[in-house]
């Protein structure tokens, strides 16, 4: 975690944990939309955050095996929304995510395009970890 993605100390925290199954991603999507709506984001920014979080969950489901939960933590203040999405589990394919040219990479590509800052790591045994930030435009 670089300094830049570190959230504010007095930020409000929302944490969500969902089963690592495709049918639960919609719950994360709705919850993050509600969180983003509390900040002064435009509708477009809210939709960007919603898609980015959903892509992070989808990636976590597709990459890590097992039935571990997906843990989503959000910290927000008036300036930014920080979201971190983690899932424990052994990687299904033991390869670096950036080396693939399949469609599978499109999800993380979208996250990078939609959010202002993104840090992503996949560990062969520890699972996926994606931290991202969207700043409120002033």
């Amino acid at each position: 975690m670089t300094q830049a993605v570190e959230p504010h100390d007095l930020a409000d925290v929302v944490e969500l944990s969902i089963p690592g199954k495709a049918e639960w991603v919609a719950v994360a999507r709705l919850a993050i939309s509600a969180v983003a709506s509390r900040l002064k984001f435009s509708i477009e920014d809210i939709e960007d955050v919603r898609l980015a979080v959903a892509e992070a969950c989808t990636d976590a489901i597709q990459r890590a095996s097992g039935d571990a939960q997906i843990d989503i933590s959000c910290r927000s203040d008036e300036r930014a929304l920080h979201v971190r999405i983690r899932r424990q589990g052994t990687m299904i394919k033991n390869e670096s995510p950036e080396s693939e040219d399949s469609v599978g990479n499109l999800g993380i590509f979208l996250v990078r395009a939609l959010m202002d800052e993104v840090e992503y790591s996949v560990h062969p045994e520890r699972g996926t970890d994606l931290a991202m930030v969207k700043y409120v435009e002033v």
Partner: protein
């Protein structure tokens, strides 16, 4: 929170696949199946109507790309109908706007399929 899929024959050799709802990691396998069945039956001109789609993610894009790859082997085409600015934006960002025909109306998409 689900997807509705409506398949109908159009004038010419084309078929329209009208989707409504949300296309995500949970629902996109159903879309893949519907498109796959048409291609298996020899339909290579597809108009996929996304007018009633409120949300699409990378798995949904993947299904559309997969369909396009398959019909292209037979000289076919996939044309999309899409007006939603957020969804158009995703086709822009990903560069997919260059590989799909994207139209404002089903009529225009069908005309381009012939």
């Amino acid at each position: 929170m689900d997807i509705k899929i409506n398949v109908r024959e159009a004038p010419g050799d084309a078929y329209v696949v009208e989707l409504s709802g949300e296309i995500d990691v949970y629902t996109s396998p159903k879309v893949k199946e519907a498109i796959g069945e048409l291609i298996d039956r020899g339909v290579y001109y597809l108009v996929i109507n996304l007018e009633k789609v409120r949300y699409i993610d990378s798995t949904g894009l993947g299904v559309l790309i997969g369909g396009l790859k398959r019909v292209r082997e037979y000289g076919g085409a996939v044309n999309l109908v899409c007006n939603n600015p957020q969804i158009k934006k995703i086709f822009d960002i990903t560069g997919l706007v260059k590989i799909f025909g994207i139209f404002e109306s089903e009529d225009a998409a069908l005309k381009a399929s012939v």
